[in-house]
């Protein structure tokens, strides 16, 4: 099953390598990994999305907790949380013009961020499901390039909210 693991770490070089190393040493392919500073610039938050056996992942979480530079680890999968990802798509503008693309963009509450004669860049933010649906809708127009940030996630304050 898919796990979203949130790891708070000291904002030092090399921490990323140690964290990702625990996954790679076990042959796990990380679906997505996001790192950024937190409200405290001396700490960074990593959000790791990984698919794998629950028991093995539980072991990875325990091993993560042993890393000297790890401050806190949470497997959000067990909690109620909000996740977001941003995607940018360079989509081809063909004979039908820009309007059909912009219609889809509006439905998804996405945005047009750049326009060229033969293409435009659109961006969308949302959960994994929304991003997947948006990409599926853009595909028929002709996707020239696609880039995703990977997911970030945050636990809800009230556990029964989700």
């Amino acid at each position: 099953m898919k796990h979203t693991i949130s790891v708070l770490v000291e904002n030092h070089f090399g921490v990323l390598a140690r964290v990702s190393g625990l996954f790679s040493a076990r042959g796990f392919n990380i679906d997505s990994l996001c790192v950024g500073e937190t409200e405290d610039p001396s700490a960074s938050r990593m959000t790791v999305v990984v698919e794998g056996d629950d028991r093995v992942l539980e072991q990875i979480v325990k091993q993560l907790q042993k890393l000297v530079e790890v401050i806190e680890v949470t497997d959000l999968t067990k909690e109620s949380f909000v996740e977001r990802e941003l995607v940018m798509i360079k989509v081809a503008v063909n004979g039908n013009g820009r309007t059909p693309i912009i219609e889809v963009v509006n439905v998804f509450r996405a945005k047009v961020v750049d326009i060229n004669p033969d293409s435009m860049i659109v961006e969308a933010t949302g959960s994994e499901g929304k991003i997947r649906a948006f990409i599926d809708m853009m595909r028929p127009f002709g996707i020239k390039e696609l880039v995703r940030t990977g997911r970030i996630a945050m636990a809800r304050s009230l556990k029964n909210n989700g």
Binding site: G21, K62, V68
Partner: protein, 619 residues
């Protein structure tokens, strides 16, 4: 030199010195008396600082520097020092190849939870990443192997980093810490602070919690409820008991409640193996009676052990009758990792065992396990270790037994990896912890000789014996000379069977006698000449069974380093054997140990013709 400014201040606080001097001063402050290592370009300033430090200090305050033939040797010397003494072992090497030669000992220390600190020189900060001469990405390489790695980039954190490395190496489940030390940092001049650690919030918080972790009254009540419901409890003690110096607490616990004890390879010495409650070693090559006891017990009390594949090859079939499994370990990640438990506690082994003993006394826990103790003692008697005795060929087990008799089980024994390692584990008595030094988890051939040298420096008054094999000894043969160079009186006992005996045994058992790569009978090395050329005054070869005892006596009594090669029966096998991935009920006891169910140990032809149809799951 600065004068003492206040009682809490370091006498050298405020003195301007190069980073290398700070490094050496912190080593001295940490109580380091011996450093193992090999110099080279990127670590020259630190070696110079050691020289200057020793020139400025009286003999008993100096840091002894032991130079091996190869950096791997330095690593295993530091590991042997740490294993024998319980103190942090230190080795200092240069960048690039110096550092990469240390990968094996670092991983070995990680796998066996041994506290060591490795300081590697690194090219100057400005040159890092430029493929400079003798540059290697030590941070990346060691990250995957060590408990923690520092690349010292901040010139204001030199002493704090070294101090913190010692702190991390010692704390919790011990392990190796590597410091990658760029040359320009070693030369950087700054005032010495004499105090301070790096701050790792999560680590410190978890460590403080772990240190404070005690058994609650509810936990003890539950533990004794489970114990009370059991008729055949068995303690399964591992290396964690040795690492946490908890052997007194283990013995007191076992004695108080009269519970028999099996130990892992790493746990040998945790309880005196001659104690009536001790059942010696369990596992793949454990004693038959120990493994039978595991089969029979109805409760397992695991302390500082981790159900690894050499103990529980087939996890589901391990201790099949155990209704309860209590697991205590300092590393919470080990609890339930392999085998699920009915009771657990994450905490120091000694503290936990003492708390449990006290709680049991307070609860006035009493249960009569006499019938069970009598049962295991009968197992011990009826299925005792044995080997081929009617033969003119020297049996390795006989050599170990004779050596045990001569040293009265008082020696510190190190080993390489393979058959000789198992024979030594099986046939020596281990009365005390830290007298058995072996590469248990990693299984590193070549460990024995350098580990013995390191142990001898830690314990100069003890007899230290490296029981080695011809394959293992070859791996770090260069260190023979290191012993004579420093007049380090280690005894090297080579059990030569002209090949990789354990591999050969597996090839006989599972690969229809195809001895791929394991036969060394055409190798021409004369080990005795080797030892002689390295300056061993005692260097002998023994191939006459009638002279074993007499020769061993002289060998052990020899004042300086001594080398003895014993030509042993090539076809001697290690028994019992629980095949890889198999359960204890499939244990082979071989031709000389009485099995419980004779049909299971039936041997088709000779000792070396065992044919099992099972395919090994693991090597």
């Amino acid at each position: 030199m600065a004068t003492v400014k206040s009682p809490t201040q370091h006498p050298l606080a405020g003195t301007v010195m190069p980073g290398a001097d700070m490094v050496v001063q912190v080593l001295a402050d940490e109580g380091v008396d011996t450093v193992f290592g090999y110099s080279g370009g990127a670590i020259l300033p630190t070696y110079d600082a050691i020289f200057k430090f020793n020139a400025a200090h009286a003999k008993n305050e100096q840091i002894r520097l032991i130079v091996p033939a190869n950096e791997q040797g330095a690593g295993f010397m530091a590991a042997g020092y740490a294993r024998a003494s319980g103190k942090v072992g230190v080795f200092v090497v240069t960048s690039g190849p110096g550092a990469t030669n240390c990968v094996t000992p670092i991983r070995d220390c990680m796998a066996d939870s041994i506290p060591v600190v490795l300081i590697c020189g690194q090219v100057p900060r400005a040159a890092i990443g430029s493929d400079a001469f003798q540059e290697a990405p030590v941070f990346n390489i060691m990250s995957a192997c060590a408990k923690h790695v520092f690349l010292l980039k901040n010139e204001n954190e030199i002493e704090e980093t070294i101090r913190t490395a010692f702190h991390i190496a010692r704390s919790g489940r011990p392990g190796p810490v590597v410091i990658d030390l760029p040359k320009d940092i070693q030369l950087y001049q700054a005032p010495f602070k004499g105090k301070g650690l790096l701050n790792f919030r999560g680590f410190e918080k978890r460590q403080a919690e772990a240190d404070a972790s005690r058994i609650t009254p509810e936990q003890s009540a539950e533990f004794f409820k489970q114990l009370g419901n059991s008729d055949r409890p068995l303690i399964y003690a591992g290396g964690g008991v040795i690492n946490s110096n908890a052997s007194d607490e283990l013995r007191a616990f076992a004695k108080e409640f009269q519970i028999p004890v099996v130990t892992t390879l790493m746990g040998l010495g945790a309880i005196d193996t001659t104690n009536e409650l001790s059942l010696s070693m369990l596992g793949m090559h454990g004693a038959a009676f120990a493994n039978y006891a595991v089969e029979d017990c109805d409760m397992i009390i695991a302390v500082g052990s981790r159900f690894d594949d050499r103990v529980a090859g087939k996890v589901k079939e391990f201790a099949p009758k155990a209704r309860y499994i209590a697991h205590m370990d300092v590393d919470a990640a080990e609890l339930g990792k392999v085998k699920s438990f009915t009771w657990s506690h994450a905490g120091d082994a000694g503290v936990t065992l003492k708390d449990l003993t006290d709680a049991g006394k307070k609860l006035k826990f009493r249960k009569d396990y006499k019938a069970w103790v009598a049962h295991v003692q009968a197992l011990k008697k009826n299925h005792a270790m044995s080997y081929k005795k009617e033969t003119d060929l020297i049996q390795p087990q006989y050599v170990i037994e004779a050596l045990n008799e001569i040293t009265k089980g008082k020696a510190i024994v190190s080993t390489g990896v393979g058959q000789h390692q198992m024979w030594a584990a099986q046939f020596f008595d281990f009365h005390e912890p830290r007298t058995w030094l072996t590469s248990g988890s990693m299984g590193t051939m070549g460990f024995g000789l350098p580990a013995a040298i390191g142990a001898q420096f830690a314990k100069p008054d003890h007899i230290v014996i490296d029981v080695d094999g011809d394959g293992s000894l070859r791996m770090n043969l260069g260190e023979l000379e290191t012993a004579t160079t420093y007049d380090c009186p280690v005894k090297v006992l080579l059990l030569n069977n002209l090949g990789d005996g354990m591999v050969r045994q597996w090839q006989q058992t599972y690969y229809e006698n195809r001895f791929s790569g394991s036969d060394k009978s055409l190798h021409r090395k004369d080990f005795v000449k080797c030892a002689q050329s390295d300056g061993y005054e005692f260097a002998e070869r023994l191939d006459d069974k009638s002279k074993v005892k007499e020769t061993l006596e002289r060998f052990v009594k020899h004042k300086g380093p001594a080398f003895l090669e014993v030509m042993i029966d090539r076809d001697a096998h290690v028994y019992p054997m629980v095949g890889p991935g198999m359960g204890y009920k499939e244990m082979l006891t071989g031709p000389y140990i009485k099995p419980r169910k004779p049909e299971l140990a039936e041997i088709k032809k000779a000792d070396d013709q065992v044919d099992l149809s099972q395919t090994p799951e693991l090597f």
